[in-house]
């Protein structure tokens, strides 16, 4: 475990160094740039309104030339702030292999918005489309914000916590196919698995049992 602890210590040191540097460059909003708890890389929270300025600064001045990943977290209905957008930056030249995690909370819990960084890193174009597709976070200033993995016109945001694992019944994207096949989008049959479990740490055996989520059959009523 000693090696892991050393890594954590160095990344904490690198994290406070980058935060000090950001405080210096963004002195007006210094109190809003805070360290973020992290098990590995340096991580920093920034205000949503200044995210683009901070990220541009990190790319142009601090040498984080690649946007490794962009995604969001849904902290579930009722939590506030509910949505957090996370950027993972990577330096390939100045300090090869140095990652930095930047996170910003969306101001609104019902209509989340975040400024787009597609103009800084072109790869953000698709990442933001995916995040919009899965969470419904609108990236303002995005050149072409459409769904990317689900089809245009799909009514739900699948990675939101209230969206059930099995899916939701709905209409097929193509009315012609739907008319011909007379079928709908049907929720996945969950009988016998997968062995559903929930995050949080407490063990709930009735939930972990494979049959628990499928109420269409049990010991008394026969399976269809």
């Amino acid at each position: 475990m000693s090696a892991a602890n050393t890594t954590a210590t160095t990344s904490a040191a690198a994290g406070s160094a980058i935060i000090a540097a950001l405080h210096e460059s963004f002195s007006q909003i210094a109190d809003k740039i805070t360290p973020r708890a992290s098990a590995d890389h340096p991580a920093v929270n920034v205000p949503a309104a200044d995210a683009v300025a901070v990220l541009t600064h990190l790319r142009d001045v601090r040498g984080y030339d690649m946007l490794a990943d962009l995604t969001a977290i849904d902290w579930a209905e009722g939590a506030s702030p509910r949505f957090t957008v996370v950027w993972h930056l990577l330096s390939t030249e100045r300090a090869p292999g140095a990652y930095l995690r930047v996170a910003a909370d969306c101001a609104s819990d019902t209509e989340p918005e975040m400024p787009s960084v597609a103009a800084i890193w072109p790869v953000a174009n698709w990442h933001e489309r995916e995040t919009f597709d899965m969470f419904g976070i609108v990236f303002t200033g995005h050149p072409d914000l459409r769904r990317i993995l689900m089809w245009d016109g799909y009514p739900h945001y699948p990675l939101r916590k209230e969206f059930p694992l099995a899916g939701i019944e709905g209409e097929l994207p193509d009315p012609e196919v739907a008319g011909e096949t007379k079928t709908k989008v049907i929720p996945a049959p969950m009988a016998g698995g997968p062995f559903v479990a929930s995050s949080g740490g407490e063990l709930n055996l009735s939930e972990a049992e494979p049959r628990a989520k499928d109420e269409s059959w049990n010991e008394r009523t026969q399976k269809n």
Partner: protein, 423 residues
């Protein structure tokens, strides 16, 4: 998108217009330049899976290229939020299904990074070994299907023979040829079978001459050169901006390789070179892959030579015992181990609350896992950073203005997998 209707004036009508003195304006081109839209895929032999390209063509020139993805979307990230960490290992097989072992390794290391868990040297060495064998297997198919797309059948068939030998080795090691599910959080599914390292070594010995034979069929092949040199050039700035990783990035010049620049699983112990391209065209990406196979063989030989003895899973601390299930013989004879096994299987390997992001240098590029945990055996959120997804996002820019036939070369040279792109 509404269907486009195309109308073509027939010759008689054109002649009639000219005879009536209407004529054509002087700047009217001789040929009809009406644009055509073409849907390439999702079932097209050179789109390697279910990628669809919505093309707009002006004659043979592509004026607009819009990739349409999602045909293979299975909601892996949603599934991950609903099962324990070890239960997700089989799903990682199905990301880049041409290198499942490398995905298994990347995923296990990501979760261990979240837990702050260190695995023993033997476990690290075995992981490096299988990840490099997976790289050989994936790159073989990568350049084999690329060759086939550009008209060369023989390398494709030759490399399948070699991949078959690798699959036989994988089957002996993991019990499955394709869906290996070999790693566990904190260790592996099982130790190496007896004599297996010798068979891997024998494979390497006979493989290298075969590899040179396959590459020699392409490297100076006039047809292959004509189809790839100067085609699909990606500048260094574009490669970085579009988040390209792996051979697709290095083909454009940057020598960034996570195995060198952010070593994990003990890669710093092995000697190998990182090949880079100069122009960033399809040919450079092919050359990079070819050389990476040679370097992988080099790493495999070093791992075999220096394979450490000792435990192959983490079991030396209380944290480790809450993560890696005890041995079966102990489960069946000791009460404490039985309880521990029950807890790990039902509640999952116990993780602290926190966030971790880990990228591994996979054959297709950097495969990343971002895990947000609230503690316990199930992640709150898991994002899979797919290298193929980022690679394909450059297509609208890369394919603008190229010939329709060059799209086939470009797709082949980018070596993507839709299972990973769509997740």
């Amino acid at each position: 998108m509404p269907p486009t209707e195309y109308t073509f004036q027939d010759n008689a009508a054109k002649n009639a217009t000219a005879a009536a003195g209407g004529g054509l304006p002087d700047d009217t081109p001789i040929f009809d330049t009406e644009k055509m839209s073409l849907s390439m895929g999702p079932s097209h032999p050179s789109t390697h899976g279910v990628l669809r390209l919505q093309l707009e063509l002006d004659g043979d020139t592509v004026t607009h290229c819009e990739p349409v993805i999602g045909y293979l979307h299975r909601g892996d990230e949603k599934i991950a939020e609903n099962m324990t960490y070890n239960q997700f290992v089989p799903y990682t097989d199905r990301l880049d299904y041409l290198a499942p072992l490398a995905n298994n390794v990347a995923y296990a290391i990501a979760v261990e990074q979240l837990a702050g868990l260190k695995v023993p040297p033997r476990c690290e060495a075995i992981r490096v070994l299988v990840a490099e064998l997976a790289r050989i297997s994936s790159h073989l198919l990568g350049f084999g299907s690329f060759a086939m797309d550009t008209g060369a059948w023989t390398p494709f068939l030759y490399q399948f023979t070699e991949r078959e030998k690798l699959y036989t080795l994988f089957e002996e090691l993991t019990g499955a040829r394709f869906t290996t599910s070999y790693t566990r959080i904190g260790g592996l599914a099982r130790d190496l079978p007896e004599g297996w390292l010798g068979r891997v070594s024998a494979f390497c010995d006979q493989f290298l001459p075969r590899l040179e034979e396959m590459l020699a069929m392409l490297t100076r092949n006039k047809i292959f050169l004509d189809r790839t040199v100067g085609i699909g050039v990606i500048s260094k700035e574009d490669a970085l901006g579009y988040g390209l990783t792996g051979p697709n990035l290095r083909g454009s010049g940057p020598s960034f390789d996570l195995r060198k620049d952010k070593p994990y699983s003990g890669y710093e112990k092995y000697e190998f070179d990182v090949p880079v391209g100069t122009t960033g065209d399809c040919y450079d990406r092919y050359l990079c892959r070819g050389e990476e196979i040679r370097q992988s063989v080099r790493i495999v030989r070093q791992v075999i030579k220096n394979m450490p003895d000792g435990p192959w899973y983490a079991a030396d601390s209380d944290e480790a015992r809450r993560i890696f299930a005890p041995r079966k013989d102990k489960v069946l004879t000791k009460m404490e181990e039985l309880i521990n096994n029950f807890m790990i299987v039902t509640a999952g390997p116990q993780m602290p609350a926190g966030e971790a992001y880990f990228e591994a240098e996979n054959p297709k590029g950097a495969l990343g896992f971002y895990i947000v945990s609230k503690g316990g055996g199930v992640p709150w959120r898991m994002k899979i950073r797919s290298p193929s997804f980022c690679t394909l996002s450059i297509l609208p820019k890369l394919c603008k203005g190229v010939m329709m036939t060059d799209i086939v070369s470009i797709l082949g040279s980018l070596d993507f997998v839709m299972g990973e792109c769509d997740r």
